[in-house]
Every structure is written in structure tokens, then in C-alpha cells.
């Protein structure tokens, strides 16, 4: 029907083959390279493993002085940290691209299509452009705090990756207080935002900062309570421990083995949206109300840092949700004994073990991307709620419900301890219910699309 839009979509695509190849190479190559580096290096973050690898390469570090060994390990950890932060930055940029493509499709637009095939390199172009912008500090701003705040935000974001898993043995440090640690360091982000709001000495920024403080601190509570549900079910705070207590199949996930798990996930998801300042909780930077909120006075690299964190947070929140509720990296048919057998008794793991690590990483990344996509959909679908509604939603609904799920999970765990079959039954019933729900959802979507005379069409990208 739409003359303009149809004409544009009917136009043949003329992306040169070289551009397509370059885009594919970077689009898949860059994250693969970084993930491969994480894959290769993160198992070595244990000093014994590192020493074993070096001994295999002909360097026996155990003969070195303890201080030299320590320095070597520290240098190694810095390299690993750099790689993981680079991964975070690249994921953040790619998320921007993906979000823009998805939103363009939802909004009958074309979206990014200039730089590289499907506009893939736009995020690099944008980053370069931002770096060349004037780094402006308002005359009336508190200059020290104004400069400092992006680093608070970036630090809070980067520290999360310490305890964020990528695969079975792929984690920088499997802290025994993993989820607690992540909740704690994420709070640095709100400190940064509050500082940005105050130091800008702009009324809009102040509004944004105050809103952000109220919002993030409120939503920490339901988020933390909901995160306690999987913690109680697995009996550990460690991220890897929580994943290990789940299975690979949906009926073994924390979201489904406990009838309250899905409710807890819902609360956690909403609270994470609020903490990440995503629609419908994007009040701190609500464009139509506060111009750009706490970001109003920022430009250039400082703005780029805020931006990086905002989109990188999508990965973080999705990865945490996958870890807590959706079985993390668990590979079907590969229990812990398979991993142990593949590793072998030697000092260095066998080739099969590395293969399993790759599989677990693929599983984890895929699940994370699915949840990330969900967050993107939500952003481009819902309007924004008002500040008082945001508070009442948190304190009147999410917090009480989180407490209910918390207590109910305690009781459920008592039941499971008495009759372990209960969790299997719950898993089966919940998964069946989800399949039915997915079927009805798909049918309704199809009906909605055909009601306006459109058809389901996946070709027009």
C-alpha cells in the first residue's frame, strides 16, 4: 500500500561483495577473536594452570622467585582484563547496531545501511565521530567531579565482568560471593550518574541524576530479592555454582523447576530494566521530559563512555539473567563427569575438553543474545512510566511480590528436600505451559499481522 516504502524496499541491494565479506569478517571475526582469547586465557587465570601451560612451552616458572611468579600472574591478569573489557566494548557497539536494525524494522524504517553491509560499521563510525567532538566542560560545572563521573560508571560496569561467566571454566574469577559482588559493584554506576547529574550544574541533569538515584536504589531491592531465589535453590552465591546446580534442558532450569522461579525472573527482569535505565524506566534520560537527563552536558569521549556502559549493560543484565534462571552454559548431554573425563588426569586439559568449552560458550552466548533481544523489543514497544508510578510499582508491587517468592521458595525447597520429584514435576509442567503459551503468542502475532493486510515476512532486512 505504502508507495514510498514499497519503492525503497523493492530497490535492488547493491552492496559490493567486498563490503559484505569485510562486514561478515569483522562482524563474526571480532567477537569470535575476543571470545577465543577469553576461551584460551580465562582457564589460565588459576596460577597452577598458568604454570602448567608455561612448563609445556618450556619455561618452568616454579623455579622463579615467588615475587617474580606473582608479577607474571599479575601481568597475565591485566592482559585478560584488557581482553574482557575490549569484549564488553565491542559487544556494546554491536548491540547498538542490532538495536538500531531491530527498531528500524519495527518502525518501518530502513535503519543503518550506509557504512558496511547493513550499516554494520556504523557503531565504529559513531565512536570515531564522538572521539573527534569537542570535549566540552560547562564553565559553571564542578570540573573535577564532571570529569570523574564517567570513570565511576565505566568502573562499575567493567568490574561486573570479573564474575561474569562465559563457559564451563571460562570466567575471570569464580568468586564464592559472585552474585553479591555483582550487585555491589553495579551500585558504582549509580554513583557515577548521580555525580554527573550534580556536577553538570544544569537543572535538567540534576533532575536526571535525582531520578536515577531514586530509581536505581529502589530497584536494587526487588532485584536482589529475586536473585536470592536461584541462590537459595542452588545453595551458593557463586555464579558458576548457580549454573552447575541447573541442567542443560529447560525443565532443569531454575526458572522452571520452581513454580515461583518464573515470577522471580519477571521481577528480576523488570528491576534490571529499571537499573539499566531502559524503557519503560528510562526516566533519568527521558528525552521528551528532561532533554537528555544527566547526559545533557556531556559530549565527546565522556559521553561515549556513558553510552558504552548503557549498551554494554544489556549484555550484563542478559548474562546475569541467563546465569540465574536459564541454565547458563550447560550443554545438553554433557554433565560434569563428561567434562572431567574430557579433561583427563594430566596437568593440561585434553583437546576434547577445549571443544566442550567452546560448546558451553556457544550455548551461553546464544541464550544471552536471546534475552538481549527481548530487552531491545521491550524498549521499542512500551511507553515510559511516570516517576511516581515507577516508585509505586517498585514498593507496592515488586518488593512485596519478591518477598512472597522468596518465602515461597523457602517452603518449596523444604518440599523438594522431602520429595525431590516435586522439582521434576514442576519443571515438566512449567515447560509444557511455556510451550503452549509460546504457541498462542505466535498465533496471536500472526493474526495481528494479517488483520492489517500484511504478511509474515522475514526477507526484508
Amino acid at each position: 500500500m505504502n508507495a514510498t516504502i514499497q519503492d525503497l524496499s523493492a530497490r535492488p541491494r547493491k552492496t559490493a561483495r567486498g563490503v559484505v565479506l569485510a562486514t561478515l569478517a569483522v562482524g563474526f571475526g571480532l567477537p569470535t577473536l575476543l571470545l577465543a582469547a577469553v576461551l584460551a586465557l580465562s582457564p589460565l587465570s588459576k596460577p597452577a594452570m598458568l604454570a602448567a601451560v608455561l612448563r609445556a612451552a618450556g619455561v618452568d616458572v616454579t623455579t622463579w622467585s615467588p615475587n617474580a611468579q606473582y608479577v607474571l600472574w599479575a601481568v597475565f591478569m591485566v592482559v585478560l582484563a584488557l581482553i574482557i573489557v575490549s569484549f564488553a566494548a565491542v559487544v556494546s557497539g554491536m548491540t547498538v547496531w542490532w538495536e538500531m536494525r531491530v527498531s528500524a524494522r519495527m518502525q518501518s524504517r530502513i535503519g543503518y545501511n550506509r557504512v558496511g553491509a547493513a550499516g554494520f560499521f556504523q557503531w565504529i563510525a559513531d565512536a570515531v565521530k564522538l572521539l573527534f567532538k569537542e570535549d566540552l566542560i560547562p564553565a559553571e560545572a564542578d570540573k573535577l567531579l564532571f570529569r570523574a563521573s564517567p570513570y565511576f560508571v565505566l568502573t562499575g560496569f567493567a568490574l561486573v565482568f570479573v564474575a561474569l561467566p562465559f563457559g564451563e571454566s571460562l570466567i575471570a574469577a569464580d568468586l564464592n560471593v559472585g552474585i553479591f559482588y555483582i550487585t555491589a559493584v553495579t551500585a558504582l554506576v549509580v554513583v557515577g550518574i548521580l555525580i554527573a547529574g550534580w556536577a553538570s550544574n544544569s537543572k535538567w541533569a540534576l533532575f536526571g541524576g535525582m531520578r536515577s538515584a531514586a530509581q536505581v536504589i529502589s530497584y536494587e531491592i526487588p532485584s536482589g530479592l529475586a536473585a536470592m531465589v536461584p541462590v537459595m535453590m542452588s545453595g551458593t552465591l557463586s555464579m558458576q555454582g548457580i549454573i552447575r546446580s541447573q541442567g542443560a534442558w529447560p525443565w532443569e532450569w531454575h526458572a522452571f523447576t520452581n513454580p515461583f522461579g518464573l515470577v522471580a525472573f519477571g521481577i528480576f527482569f523488570v528491576a534490571q530494566l529499571a537499573e539499566g535505565n531502559r524503557t519503560p524506566f528510562d526516566l533519568p534520560e527521558a528525552e521528551s521530559e528532561l532533554v537528555a537527563g544527566y547526559l545533557s552536558e556531556y559530549s565527546s569521549f565522556r559521553f561515549a563512555l556513558f553510552f558504552l556502559v548503557e549498551f554494554g549493560n544489556l549484555w550484563v543484565m542478559s548474562a546475569i539473567a541467563v546465569t540465574l534462571f536459564f541454565g547458563g552454559w550447560q550443554v545438553p548431554f554433557a554433565g560434569p563427569e563428561i567434562f572431567a573425563a574430557a579433561r583427563g588426569a594430566g596437568e593440561l586439559p585434553g583437546a576434547g575438553w577445549w571443544g566442550l568449552q567452546v560448546l558451553s560458550m556457544i550455548v551461553f552466548v546464544t541464550k544471552t543474545l536471546v534475552v538481549l533481544n527481548l530487552v531491545v523489543w521491550v524498549r521499542w514497544t512500551l511507553p515510559r512510566i511516570r516517576v511516581d508510578q515507577m516508585m509505586s510499582l517498585c514498593w507496592k508491587y515488586l518488593v512485596p511480590f519478591a518477598f512472597v517468592t522468596f518465602v515461597a521458595t523457602l517452603l518449596w525447597e523444604i518440599l523438594v528436600a522431602r520429595a525431590p520429584v516435586a522439582s521434576d514435576v514442576a519443571g515438566g509442567v512449567m515447560v509444557a505451559a511455556m510451550v503452549v503459551a509460546a504457541f498462542f503468542f505466535a498465533r496471536q502475532t500472526r493474526q495481528n499481522i494479517s488483520a492489517v493486510g500484511d504478511r509474515v515476512d522475514f526477507t526484508n532486512w
Partner: protein, 379 residues
């Protein structure tokens, strides 16, 4: 304004004065609001208009009668057809011209299409101000088709300059009627989809229902017109109650705000009345295309328009409510006085009295639910 500055001097420490505009994403053009807030709650929002004043009324006295027609487009560039029509009718009254029926019908068709386009912008930006971006672009997509259709009709997409004193400028192009009918078939389904997409969204309703309520009598006292007035439950539509042009020949309903999700006169009513009006406009265009008479598209108008001394007032139902042109002639070929009465200007006046106690986010909802357009306020 002086009062405001005085208040500013002895204000409490908790209060903050915000310049909400002139460059603000949700003031829909260059409008300034001096907002006194205590945290998120407004003490008062004072509109400060005049940033887009272009002396259009004075221009009307300086150029000849036909020469003023392109300027009327700029009175309200979101719905320029109505400004054309209002001026044309006023001058025709001065000249005592009889407009041929085909021209009357073409005016109705073009105006109703323009009303749909204008309301699409209105409901779209309203949704965007509430924070959802996607439905707005769906609205703009449909408006694009209307722009294409009107471009085929008169060659312009925004400032149409289509109506003429005594008729309209061009007849229908070939195949245009079928294109319009095909669009309307699509558009009626689109309205249902749009409602499902955003109008009945829970968050959206919660944001708008019972917010910034304007009771019916208050709306009348402040001179609100059009969808803003009907949103407050006052059943008044110039097209039906003081019919002009071809409108007596069409059957259509006048949607009135009944408090769809809250009380009558809240922001949601003002929004939803526009959604319902689009469906009615679609009906009117269908009827007009069906009953379109043959014949001339302009009356015989003298080359040099010199109306007898006198005055004429035309009232048309614009997308932003009743638009009136008051033209005084002194017998020369230039008007002695041209006065334009627009809906947005009176809508701005009510903001100051509705705003106390609202939240910052509600002010945004109020402004966009009143559908003010900056050039129409200032002219």
C-alpha cells in the same frame, strides 16, 4: 511575567525555575514554559509565546486578496488546508461568490485528508512524548501516503496552497480516487492496529487517564475548540452545527470524550477523540468521493479582486479546532484588516491554570494532548 519575576525573588529554597523551552524536544516548536517546580511537582507553568511570530495578519493587509493565500499555509503548517479554506470562505463571503459544488466537494476531501494527516502527527508525537517511539513512526508512515496523495493533487506536500478564492486550484488527477480509496481501506485497518499497539496499552492509559483534567465548563470558558473541547465532553463541531461547504451532505459522528478510562476531559480523552475523528474523516472522504458532482472547480472570479467595503467572518473546523478568519474590506484590492483566530492560542492559555500540582511528565502529556502547534499560536 512581572509577577513571575517577583515570585522568583522571594521564592522558597526548594523551588526551582526551569526554562522548559524554547528548544525543548516536547514543546513542538519554539514555545517556552517558565516552570516553577518543587522537585518533580509543578507549582505553575507559565507559557511564554511569541517566538514564532511572523506578522501573518499584517502581511494579509499588505498583499492583495489572492496573494495572501500562500501565506495562510504558514498559519498552521501541519494542517495548512484548513487555513486555506477559512481564508477562501471569508473572501468569498465578501465577494458574495457562489462556489461550484465540485469545488466544495474537493475542499471537503482535501481538508479531511489533511485532518487525518494532522491528527496522525498529533497522536504520534503525543505517544512519543509519553516515551514510545515506534507508534509515532507508524503514524508518520501513514501520513507519508497522504502527503503523496495530496502532492499528486496539488503539487505540494506541506504548504498546499490548494484552495483558491472561488474554488480550488486543480481537479483530481487520473486514478487518484482509486488510490485514495485503497489508502482508506488500509487506513481503517491501521487505526485498529494503532489502538492495539499503543492506545490501549496499560502503561499509556495509566500515564494519561485522569491526568490534567479540563472540565467541560472550564473548557468553554477558556475558549478551547475542536478536539480539546470535545475531549472535555462538549458536543460542538462547526462542521455539523454551523455547516459550511459540502458538509451538510455527509453523514458523520462527532466523537466526544466520555472518560474512556478516567474522567471526561482528561488527557486520554483528548488523545482518543482524535483517534476516533480520524475514522470519521475517513468516512467523510469515502462519501465525498462517492457523491462527487461533475462541473467547474472555480467560480468566475474577477481578475482584480476588489470587494465592496464590508466585513466577513468565516468559521471552519480545523484539525486544531475552530479556525476563524475575520476580513475587513475598505473597497480597495487589499484587505483593511485580516484577523486569524486559531485553536492553539486559546489552548495555551489554559495550561497556566491546569498545571499546578501536575508532575513534569504530566506537563509534557498536557502540552501534547492539547496538540498545540507553535506557528498557529503566534501566527
Amino acid at each position: 511575567m512581572d509577577k513571575l519575576i517577583l515570585r522568583r525573588v522571594d521564592r522558597q529554597n526548594e523551588e526551582m525555575i526551569l526554562n522548559f523551552g524554547p528548544q525543548h524536544p516536547s514543546t513542538h516548536g519554539v514555545i517556552n514554559f517558565l516552570v516553577e517546580t518543587d522537585g518533580e511537582v509543578l507549582k505553575r507553568a507559565t507559557p511564554d509565546v511569541g517566538y514564532l511570530h511572523r506578522s501573518i495578519e499584517k502581511i494579509g493587509e499588505l498583499v492583495g486578496y489572492p496573494g495572501f493565500m500562500p501565506y495562510t499555509d504558514r498559519v498552521d503548517y501541519v494542517a495548512a488546508m484548513f487555513a486555506n479554506e477559512g481564508y477562501a470562505i471569508a473572501v468569498e463571503k465578501l465577494l458574495k461568490l457562489e462556489v461550484p459544488p465540485r469545488a466544495q466537494w474537493l475542499r471537503a476531501i482535501s481538508c479531511e485528508l489533511c485532518r487525518i494527516a494532522s491528527h496522525l502527527v498529533s497522536v504520534g508525537t503525543m505517544v512519543m512524548d509519553i516515551g514510545a517511539f515506534t507508534p509515532m513512526l507508524h503514524g508518520i508512515r501513514e501520513r507519508e501516503t497522504i502527503n503523496d496523495l495530496i502532492e499528486a493533487l496539488c503539487g505540494a506536500r506541506l504548504t498546499y496552497n490548494y484552495h483558491r478564492i472561488g474554488g480550488v486550484a486543480f481537479d483530481l488527477p487520473e486514478g487518484w480516487r482509486d488510490k485514495v480509496l485503497a489508502f482508506l481501506d488500509h487506513f481503517d485497518r491501521f487505526l485498529v492496529e494503532y489502538d492495539r499497539l499503543i492506545s490501549f496499552n496499560e502503561i499509556y492509559i495509566k500515564r494519561l487517564a485522569n491526568v490534567a483534567v479540563i472540565p467541560g465548563p472550564m473548557a468553554v470558558n477558556y475558549g478551547l475548540v475542536g478536539p480539546n473541547l470535545r475531549g472535555s465532553g462538549v458536543d460542538w463541531d462547526v462542521r455539523r452545527d454551523m455547516p459550511y461547504g459540502a458538509y451538510p451532505n455527509f453523514k458523520f459522528n462527532v466523537p466526544v470524550g466520555k472518560g474512556f478510562y478516567g474522567v471526561s476531559g482528561d488527557s486520554f480523552d483528548r488523545y482518543y477523540v482524535r483517534c476516533l475523528e480520524m475514522a470519521e474523516s475517513s468516512k467523510i472522504v469515502r462519501q465525498a468521493l462517492e457523491t462527487l458532482p461533475e462541473g467547474e472547480i472555480t467560480a468566475k472570479v474577477p481578475r482584480n479582486i476588489k470587494p465592496e467595503a464590508g466585513e466577513a467572518l468565516s468559521r471552519v473546523e480545523s484539525a486544531r479546532g475552530e479556525m476563524a478568519y475575520y476580513v475587513v474590506s475598505d473597497g480597495t484590492n487589499k484587505a483593511y484588516r485580516v484577523r486569524v483566530r486559531t485553536g492553539s492560542f486559546t489552548a495555551m492559555c489554559i495550561i497556566e491554570d491546569i498545571s499546578p500540582g501536575l508532575m513534569v511528565a504530566d506537563l509534557v502529556a498536557l502540552i501534547s494532548s492539547l496538540d498545540v502547534v507553535a506557528p498557529e499560536i503566534d501566527r
